[in-house]
Every structure is written in structure tokens, then in C-alpha cells.
């Protein structure tokens, strides 16, 4: 966390890049920064966050590639890194990358990030793959529902990058003010959030978002509780912490309610903006899966593939190797 703050001192604008695993975050990161960060097709590849730099219209930016997560509720180290950065790293803007082929599940993380910070840009990536699968997304409608800028992208070929940069610039220059449509919970949960918010508002400086911290505490996030306790004790507000503990005891374990509400909202939004057309692309994948994972054909297919690899290493490699030795032999002559 320390070095991220240092970058802020150098007048660089910090942007966080978040998203579910396997949505193309590292590809977008490389597109923006020109860094050759290794991209791989397996989840959890970016376990710690990577930083890169870029400039646009005379401004310098630090881009932090966060580990891929499904949520900000802490289940794993990756989620903690992403959450801590968004909460305590004070990024100017957070870009949420979502997978156009499974918008509904990806929206869960996006909705959580919109709770933590206002300056959120959503990139709907893999638009080309979605199209192949017969899925199209009503970007305008999605924008209306969430009230944040939404940019369709194909990061692999750089589509949408220019309009992403323009959007970043208009937020930083103050031209564009974002006010996301936050998730509203049931009355009981909202009352609990309000009570914690009231305590925190007077105690914490404006860099913290009391509503979000309240939500995390109600969710039973113990690390967040420890963090807030430390902050409050440092400023001699032990009494406030006691108040918060009392509120948490009154409203027991709202965590599940919160997750369920977020998914319900994600489902309702997806229903409205995702359009499915008939397609046979998925059927080809399915046929291959049928053969490769079948009890009777799966193991023979695996043995066959291993056999081919053995043949290549033991016998097949002799052909290019013979050609090479012949070539060198001729050159020596």
C-alpha cells in the first residue's frame, strides 16, 4: 500500500483495474500501459497487483492491475488485496472489466465496487466472443440502470480503448461527474447501515466511505472491523467503537441478506439488458466436451494425446533433427 501512496505524491493519477478472473484484465492492462505482462488463460494468475504507467492528454496515470475476484467480500487473499486497494488505496477511478458472455455473474462484483467508490467505469469486454455465442448487450440500457459510463471493448484487438481513455480524461478534468445508482437494501438492513454511518461520519475523515464500511462490518468482515478499531482507537474514539459493536450485536449477521440482494439486482439488470439469439457456436464446444469428458472416450482420448506427444519426442523429433544436421554438415563443407 505504501508505494501506491508515493505515486500519488508524484502527481500521478491512480486507477484501479478490477474484474472477475479470466475477463481479460491483463490484456487490457497491457493495451493501456504497453507493458508485456504475462497473460494466461487460467484464473488467479495475478495474485498480487501489478502496476504500470501511461500518459494521455498530458496527464500521467498509474494503473494498478488487481487480482481477479468474484466479490470483495473476503474469502481469499486476492479478494483482500482488491478490497484493501479500493478502500484504502484511494484510487481516483476504478475500471471494472466485465465479461459480456456472463454479465449477470460479473455484475455482482461491479455492484459491490459501485458501493465502495463513485468514480467507476465499466468496460464490457469480450464483446466479440459474446457475439459468436449469440449474446448481445444493450449498453445504453445498462448505462441507464447503473448510471456509470459503460464502454464495450475487445481488449485483445484494442477496440474501445480510445473511448475508455477519453472517459478517464473527462472524469479527471471534472467534465464528467459520476453518481452511481447504489444498491438499496431492505428496510432492516438500511436502518443498520444508517446507524453505523452516523457514528462513522463524525469520526472518520472524508476519504472513507461510511456506508460501504458499514456494509462490510454488517457482513461480518473481521479484518475491516480490526482496521476500523485501530483507526478509532488512534483518534481516541474508543467509545465510538463500542457504539458500533453494540449496533453489530443488535443486527446479527446480515451478510447473506446483502449477497442475496446484490445477486437479485444483478439478475434483474441482466434480464433487461442481455439479449440471447440462437447460435450453434456453443454446440461445438459442447460436442468436444462430450468426447473429452465422457467416461468411455475421455481416457482413450487422453492416452491418444499422450501417445502422440511421446511419438513426437521419441520418433517425430528425429526428422527435423536429421534435417538440421544435414544442413550444418553441408555448411561445414
Amino acid at each position: 500500500m505504501e508505494d501506491i501512496k508515493l505515486d500519488n505524491l508524484e502527481n500521478k493519477i491512480t486507477i484501479g483495474l478490477a474484474g472477475n478472473p479470466n475477463t481479460g484484465k491483463s490484456t487490457l492492462f497491457n493495451r493501456l500501459t504497453g507493458l508485456k505482462q504475462h497473460t494466461g488463460n487460467w484464473p488467479g494468475k495475478t495474485v498480487s497487483s501489478t502496476k504500470g504507467y501511461f500518459a494521455y492528454k498530458g496527464r500521467k496515470y498509474t494503473l494498478v492491475d488487481l487480482p481477479g475476484t468474484y466479490s470483495l467480500f473476503i474469502n481469499s487473499q486476492e479478494e483482500e488485496i482488491a478490497r484493501d486497494f479500493i478502500c484504502f488505496g484511494n484510487p481516483e477511478i476504478v475500471i471494472v472489466l466485465v465479461d459480456a458472455t456472463s454479465l449477470e455473474r460479473n455484475l455482482n462484483l461491479a455492484l459491490q465496487i459501485m458501493e465502495a467508490t463513485d468514480n467507476v467505469i465499466m468496460c464490457v469486454n469480450l464483446m466479440d466472443e459474446a457475439e459468436k455465442k449469440g449474446i448481445s448487450i444493450d449498453i445504453k440500457k445498462l448505462e441507464e440502470k447503473l448510471n456509470i459510463p459503460i464502454i464495450p471493448t475487445v481488449a485483445r484487438i484494442g477496440e474501445g480503448i480510445e473511448s475508455l481513455l477519453k472517459t478517464i480524461d473527462s472524469i479527471v478534468s471534472g467534465e464528467l461527474k459520476i453518481k452511481p445508482n447504489k444498491t438499496i437494501y431492505d428496510e432492516f438492513t438500511e436502518r443498520a447501515i444508517g446507524e453505523i454511518e452516523n457514528v462513522l461520519k463524525t469520526e472518520l475523515n472524508s476519504a472513507f466511505n461510511p456506508r460501504w464500511i458499514g456494509l462490510r462490518l454488517l457482513d461480518g468482515d473481521l479484518n475491516m472491523k480490526k482496521e476500523i478499531k485501530n483507526i478509532l482507537l488512534k483518534s481516541n474514539s474508543g467509545y465510538s467503537f463500542n457504539q458500533i459493536e453494540n449496533i453489530l450485536n443488535t443486527y446479527d449477521d446480515l451478510g447473506e441478506k446483502i449477497v442475496i440482494r446484490l445477486y437479485d439486482r444483478a439478475e434483474a439488470i441482466a434480464k433487461d439488458v442481455v439479449i440471447h439469439k440462437a447460435s450453434n457456436k456453443e454446440r461445438l464446444d459442447k460436442k468436444l466436451d462430450d468426447i473429452l469428458t465422457n467416461k468411455f472416450t475421455g481416457y482413450p482420448a487422453m492416452l491418444l494425446l499422450l501417445g502422440i506427444i511421446f511419438w513426437i519426442t521419441i520418433v517425430g523429433a528425429n526428422y527435423p533433427s536429421d534435417l538440421l544436421s544435414e544442413l550444418f554438415f553441408r555448411l561445414m563443407k
Binding site: 468474484y70 455473474r105 451478510g255 442475496i260 439478475e267
Partner: protein
Amino acid sequence: MNTKRLIPLTHLPIGETGRVKYIEDSHMKRRFLDLGLTPNTIVKTERYSPSGNPIAYRFRATIIAIRREEAENIFVSR
């Protein structure tokens, strides 16, 4: 509350769908919720791996493989 019998997800035959009704308390419960297996989510058994474990389930437009031991803790109505 529900007249229909609940079955563990592992008993849902391939190609059939069920609605998540209950998840046994374990360290995985929260993880499942975060992945989108919230109450009333529609789940379809997609396929078995060659050894029968893990099992691939489709819900919320994605396929996720879940270990048999853990899928046994998820109860659905058909």
C-alpha cells in the same frame, strides 16, 4: 414451508434443473453465495467428469465445476 422434497445437488440428473433452497453451513457456504448460488437460483447439472467428481453445473449463464463432497451440501427442489 415447502411441500416438495429437497434433494442434494448430486442427485440431480444430467440435463435436469433444480432451484437452490438450502445450503448446509460450512466454510464453503459463503463462497457458493458469492459465486451466485443464492436461494432460488436455477441450477442445471451439465455433465460429470470421467471419474464422476467434480460435477459441472450451469447457473447464471456460467458453468462451474463443484466437488461432489461440496455439492452434497447444496439442496435443491425439482
